[in-house]
C-alpha cells in the first residue's frame, strides 16, 4: 500500500478543479497552474526515485485485493514517463502564458490542460485494462476541448474528424477488452498475463492481439491508421500542438509496448512480426511526408510518425537490448518533439506563416532561437552525443543481431532523411535573406524561448548523461522483457 503513486494523478485533478473556479482571473490562474504543475513534477520525480530504490510500487484502490479491484502500478517505465509528461506539461504551461491568448485562458484552457495531464499520467500508471480505457477517455475528452478551443474554422473542421476517429477507436477498445474478458475473465493486467500464459498459443488470442494493435495504432498513428494525424495536429496553436505531439501519440505507443510485452507473447512470430512490418512501413511513410512538405508544421508532424515507427521497431524486435533502446528513444522523442513544436511555434508567431518559402533570415535577429533549433534538430536526428543517438544505436544493433537487416537499414537511413527534413527548416527559415515581418515586434521571443531552451537542455543532458541514466532505463526494459517481475509485484505471490 503506497499512496505516493496517486499523487501525480491527484495533484493535476485538484489543480484542474480549483482552476475552474478562477476562470475570469487570468493572473491567479497562471499562479495556481504553475504551482500545480511544479508539484506534479516534484511528486513524479519522488515517485520515480522511490521506484528506483524500492522496486515496483503498487496500490490497490479501496483496498480491494489485486486481481479483483483496480490496481495502480508504477514500474520504472511508467514512472519515468510520468516524470517526462509532468516536465513537458510544466514547460508547455510556461510557453502558454505569453502565447495562448487571454480569451482562451478565460475559457477554461488551464483546467482542461490539467485534465489532459491527469489522463496521460493515469494511462501510464494504471494496472487495469479497463481503467486504462477510462484514462484514455479522460485524456481524449480533454484533447477534444483543447483542439477546438478558440473555435476557428480549421479547428472546428479538424476536431470533427478527430472526434469521429477517436470515437470509433474507443468503441474498438471496448470491443477488444470485451473479447479479452470473455477469454481470460479478468481485467487486471498482471492477472491477464498469467491467464494468457496458462492458455498458451491460440487463435482467438492472436485475434485479440491484432485488435489491440488496431486500437492503440489509431491513437499512436502507425502505418495504415495514421491518416487523421497530419490534419488534426495542424489545427491548434503551438503549445497544444506540442502537448499532443509529445504526449498523445506516445500514450498509444506505450500501450502497444505494454500489451505486446505483457500480454501477447505467445505467438511472437505472428504478432510481433506484424508489428515489425507495420513499424517499418510507418517509418518510410513518415520520412516521405517529412521530406515532401514545405510547411514547418507538417514536417515536424510527419517526424512524429517516423519516431513512432522507430520505437515500435525496437518493441517488435523484442530483446532486452532493443527494448532498452525503445525506452531510451521514447523519452528522448517526447522531450525533443515538444521542444521542436514550441520552436516552430515561435517561428510561426514571428513570421505569421508556416510556409517555408515565405520565411528566411531569422538567424540575424534571433540567433538564440536559431541555435536552439539547430541543437534540437541534431538531437532529433540522433547525432552523437545528443539524446537520440543511444536509443537508435541500441535499436539498430538489436535489429541486426536478430537478423533483421532490412528493418535496421531503414531505421538508419531514416535518421539521415530526418536530419535532411529538419535541416530544410534551418536552411530555409533561418538562413537566407532577412525579411521584414509585420508581427515580429510584438512577439515576446525571449519569454517564449525559455520553454524550448529548458527542454533542449534536458535533451542534451539526457544524451550526455545517458551513461548515468542507463541503469534506470535498463531497469525499465528489464521489467518489459521479463513480465514475471511485474506480475510478482502486482499479485504479491
Amino acid at each position: 500500500m503506497n499512496s505516493l503513486i496517486t499523487l501525480p494523478l491527484l495533484i493535476p485533478l485538484f489543480t484542474a478543479i480549483i482552476l475552474v473556479f478562477f476562470n475570469k482571473n487570468v493572473t491567479v490562474q497562471r499562479w495556481i497552474a504553475t504551482i500545480g504543475s511544479l508539484l506534479t513534477l516534484a511528486a513524479a520525480v519522488w515517485l520515480s526515485a522511490t521506484v528506483y530504490t524500492q522496486g515496483i510500487q503498487t496500490m490497490d484502490l479501496s483496498n480491494w485485493q489485486a486481481p479483483f479491484g483496480i490496481t495502480l502500478v508504477s514500474d520504472m517505465l511508467s514512472s519515468i514517463l510520468v516524470v517526462t509528461t509532468s516536465l513537458i506539461g510544466f514547460v508547455c504551461l510556461l510557453y502558454s502564458f505569453r502565447s495562448i491568448g487571454v480569451e482562451r485562458e478565460k475559457h477554461y484552457y488551464y483546467p482542461v490542460f490539467f485534465f489532459l495531464i491527469l489522463g496521460v499520467n493515469g494511462a501510464f500508471t494504471t494496472g487495469d485494462i479497463f481503467n486504462m480505457f477510462v484514462f484514455f477517455e479522460v485524456m481524449l475528452m480533454a484533447s477534444y476541448v483543447l483542439l477546438v478551443l478558440g473555435g476557428t474554422k480549421i479547428q472546428l473542421r479538424e476536431t470533427i474528424k478527430y472526434l469521429l476517429v477517436n470515437v470509433i477507436s474507443s468503441g474498438l477498445f471496448v470491443i477488444a477488452v470485451a473479447y479479452l474478458y470473455s477469454v481470460v475473465g479478468t481485467l487486471n493486467m498482471a492477472h491477464i498475463s498469467v491467464r494468457l500464459n496458462e492458455l498458451g498459443q491460440s487463435g482467438i488470442v492472436t485475434v485479440i492481439a491484432v485488435l489491440f494493435l488496431i486500437v492503440f495504432g489509431i491513437k499512436g498513428a502507425i502505418f495504415p491508421l495514421y491518416f487523421w494525424l497530419p490534419g488534426a495536429y495542424y489545427a491548434p496553436p503551438a503549445p497544444i500542438m506540442a502537448l499532443f505531439g509529445a504526449l498523445l501519440t506516445k500514450v498509444g505507443v506505450y500501450s502497444i509496448t505494454r500489451t505486446y510485452t505483457l500480454f501477447f507473447t505467445q505467438d511472437i512470430g505472428y504478432t510481433h512480426g506484424l508489428l515489425e512490418i507495420l513499424s517499418i512501413i510507418t517509418i518510410i511513410i513518415g520520412v516521405i511526408g517529412a521530406i515532401a512538405y514545405f510547411d514547418v508544421k507538417k514536417i515536424i508532424i510527419y517526424n512524429i510518425i517516423v519516431a513512432v515507427g522507430v520505437i515500435l521497431f525496437g518493441v517488435a524486435t523484442f530483446t532486452t537490448e532493443s527494448l532498452t533502446g525503445s525506452v531510451f528513444y521514447l523519452i528522448h522523442d517526447m522531450i525533443i518533439k515538444a521542444a521542436l513544436f514550441l520552436l516552430i511555434g515561435i517561428m510561426i508567431k514571428i513570421t505569421g506563416t508556416s510556409n517555408l518559402r515565405e520565411m528566411g533570415g531569422l538567424i540575424n535577429r534571433y540567433p538564440g532561437l536559431a541555435w536552439t533549433y539547430f541543437v534540437a534538430a541534431l538531437a532529433l536526428a540522433g547525432i552523437p552525443p545528443l539524446s537520440g543517438f543511444l536509443g537508435k544505436i541500441l535499436i539498430v544493433r538489436a535489429g541486426i543481431d536478430a537478423g533483421n537487416y532490412w528493418g535496421s537499414g531503414v531505421v538508419l537511413l531514416s535518421s539521415l532523411l530526418v536530419l535532411f527534413s529538419v535541416m530544410k527548416i534551418f536552411m530555409n527559415g533561418f538562413w537566407g535573406k532577412a525579411r521584414e515581418y509585420k508581427q515580429q515586434e510584438k512577439v515576446p521571443v525571449r519569454w517564449l524561448l525559455t520553454a524550448p531552451v529548458i527542454l533542449t537542455i534536458c535533451a542534451v543532458l539526457y544524451g550526455l548523461g545517458s551513461e548515468a541514466l542507463y541503469p534506470i532505463i535498463s531497469t525499465a526494459a528489464e521489467t518489459l522483457s521479463n513480465p514475471e517481475i511485474y506480475i510478482k509485484a502486482v499479485l504479491k505471490e
Binding site: 479497463f130 472546428l156 470509433i168 474478458y181 495542424y234 508544421k297
Partner: protein, 113 residues
C-alpha cells in the same frame, strides 16, 4: 440466446458503419451513437447472459451473474454519453461557422504545397 444477440450486434454495427460513411454530419453522429450501443451490447453478451442469482444478495445461490460487465457498461455508457453531447455541440458550432454539414466540403488543404 447468445447467438441471437450476436446477430443483433452485427446488424447494429452494420447500420452504424453505413451511417458513419454518409456525408451528412448528423447521420455520422447518429452512427457513432449506434456504434456505442452495439459495443455495450457486445460487452454484456461477452460476460455471459443472465444465469444465476444477483451477486451478494442471494448468498446461497448455486451460480451468480457476473457483475463486472455491467459495471463496465455503466462506465462506457456515461463516457459515450458525454462524448456524444460534445460531438453534437461541436457539430452545431461548426455548422454555424462553416455553413455546411457536408463532410465532402470539409477537406483541409492547409500546408499541402
Amino acid at each position: 440466446m447468445e447467438i441471437l444477440m450476436s446477430l443483433l450486434i452485427g446488424v447494429i454495427f452494420m447500420s452504424a458503419t453505413y451511417l458513419m460513411l454518409s456525408k451528412s454530419l448528423l447521420r455520422i453522429i447518429v452512427g457513432t451513437g449506434l456504434l456505442s450501443h452495439g459495443v455495450h451490447l457486445l460487452l454484456l453478451t461477452m460476460g455471459g447472459l443472465k444465469r444465476g442469482a444477483a451477486p451478494l444478495l442471494g448468498q446461497q445461490a448455486e451460480a451468480y451473474t457476473d457483475p463486472l460487465p455491467q459495471a463496465l457498461i455503466l462506465t462506457a455508457i456515461v463516457i459515450s454519453f458525454g462524448i456524444t453531447a460534445l460531438f453534437l455541440v461541436v457539430a452545431y458550432r461548426s455548422y454555424q461557422e462553416l455553413g455546411t454539414d457536408n463532410m465532402e466540403l470539409m477537406r483541409g488543404k492547409e500546408g499541402n504545397e
